[in-house]
């Protein structure tokens, strides 16, 4: 992948984020619209780059830290677009796109070479496992962002952000969709593990923490029915949940020995 295109992509997202930032102080609708158009352009470019890497490699190239950060960033941008088109969240996008910039910024200095595929990864189940996993993570990241904004809105009562019921609705939707997709990731991963290693669940640290992520968000899907927890507690849980996700994705791969290493 050309580093120039990668930097161009980063610049597009940076401009979009700056546009949203500007929109907070200079509330002209064309600023927000321009930012949105930039994000759409960024997503199209990122999709093309990802598609090209996939086509060139012959498999979904998400096997090292650069590739996972890039894919996560793409999934997060798509997730943002989904919520923007559905709810017109505008200013809420600032926080999500900042998170996206962190992910893409983390990928920029890394080697973009597509590594050779380990034979055990050469199965459509791996691609499904990865796609569902990172799109699920993206929804959890969205829920984290919305959770933070919910707490801000609860304190500030500002017109810059959507009202609390809308934020709550988006948060619950993000958790629900993220949980569903992450569940599909776990199913695909278990079937793959069974045919690749002969067991559908193993007590390695990555599998254990993936189950923890699943249980945490399964708990959250139930917690929304507890009246006292709706809103504020749920927002805090969204933030804590993303901490568990980050440890599962980055902490285990980078800090601990696992069968899902990140290099």
């Amino acid at each position: 992948m050309s580093k120039t295109l990668l930097y161009l992509l980063f610049t597009i997202y940076l401009m979009a984020t700056s546009g949203y930032l500007l929109h907070i102080f200079w509330r002209r609708s064309f600023v927000a619209k321009a930012s949105f158009v930039l994000i759409v352009a960024g997503v199209i470019l990122q999709t093309a780059l990802l598609g090209h890497r996939w086509w060139a490699a012959g498999y979904l190239p998400v096997t090292n830290l650069f590739a996972t950060l890039f894919f996560f960033s793409w999934a997060l941008a798509l997730t943002y677009l989904y919520f923007e088109l559905r709810y017109r969240i505008r200013a809420t996008g600032l926080f999500v796109m900042l998170l996206n910039l962190v992910l893409l910024g983390g990928a920029l200095p890394r080697d973009t070479t597509v590594s050779l595929l380990i034979p055990a990864l050469d199965t459509p189940l791996f691609s499904l496992h990865i796609i569902f996993s990172f799109v699920g993570y993206a929804f959890f990241a969205m829920a984290f962002s919305i959770g933070v904004l919910y707490l801000c809105q609860a304190q500030l009562s500002t017109e810059l952000l959507p009202d609390l019921p809308t934020l709550r609705k988006i948060n619950e939707e993000a958790i629900f969709l993220g949980f569903g997709l992450f569940t599909l990731c776990m199913v695909a991963g278990s079937i793959w593990a069974h045919i690749a290693w002969g067991h559908w669940f193993s007590w390695n640290i990555k599998s254990v923490w993936s189950v923890l992520v699943w249980m945490f968000y399964a708990g959250m899907c139930h917690a929304k029915f507890i009246r006292r927890w709706q809103g504020g507690v749920y927002a805090w849980l969204s933030i804590a949940g993303f901490g568990v996700v980050l440890f599962t994705y980055l902490g285990i791969g980078l800090l601990l020995e696992s069968n899902h290493p990140l290099e």
């Binding site: 050779l116 050469d122 199965t123 079937i191 793959w192 290693w197 002969g198 067991h199 507890i226």
Partner: protein
Amino acid sequence: MGSGKWPKPFLLKLWALGCSLKLAIALASAATLLIMGGSLVMHYNPAIFSGMEQEIMGQWLPQAWSRAPLLVFWVPLSGLCILLFALNTLCCLIDWLTMLRVRWRKTGEYLVHAGFVLLTVAYLWGNLSGFRSGPHRLAPGDRMSIPNMPGYLLQLEEFTPQIEPGGRPLDMINKLVLWKNGRQVLQKTIRINHPLIYDGLVILPSSYGQDIQGFRFHMPGTGFVDLAPGSRLPISSDVTLVVHRFLADARQDRQGRVMEIGSRLNNPALQLSLLGPSGTIWQGWYFLRRQLPEGMVKAGIELRPVEPVLTTFSLLTINRDPGDKMALTGGFCITVGVIFAFFSFYRKRRISDRPEI
């Protein structure tokens, strides 16, 4: 009064507790916190926990408990929480089934519940009555009994490792035959991600290796010949060269005794004899790094060592999980449930049918 000695209000309370949402959250939270802490204990105590992946829980836990109960107590405790959580999920599922006519819109969510219950039972079943074993070393033609499954035999008919020109292994193709009580029940070619699955049994390639069986020589006038234990090479109409032993790394002491040092190719030697019409003409050791023994030279033999003769063996993992079909059914329920739940979520939001419930 209720059935038997139990008062009806007590049974109703017990059922309400079984279906309690708060109990579900409490049990899931307890299991989550216990496993979070336990995973760090796992990481810092590999000597205790390394076997956890290689064995089923039913075998690993009693051993680990006897060695370090304070380090492994969280495993049965979190297992109990998950088991109770699954029981709670089952109660909710039954409760939902009894009100299916008015709550059918939640079919997707409750299919996920059903899948979770099935997965929990499948895990318990597989980890109490299954096994994990291997790697088992099989060369082409070898047969072995399947551990813990009397009457089952596994035969490796052919083995072909596929290697890239750069030396990177690409695949391991094993042609296997499974026998049960002397009857062939399955023949399958397995490779990476394509195991043999039969009656809860999963047989898959895990690695392979090579053994040095003998050595290839160039014999002027004859061409290339492979000499390995058991080989008989006619030298003339009445003289035959017989190979008794091959050592990849041999040493000869001062008394002339030859001993094996290791299995890696370093100082190869063949124990040979020359048989004539009236018996043994010569016998002794031929160290390939040295010159041909005088007895062989006198017999007119010329051999030039070329390369080792290698045989490749396969390393197979053999696991048994009697709950695998139940787990697959659970996975299927969950997948269908998630798809249903996605559709019903948006439909309920569209018609304002209290989407959050």
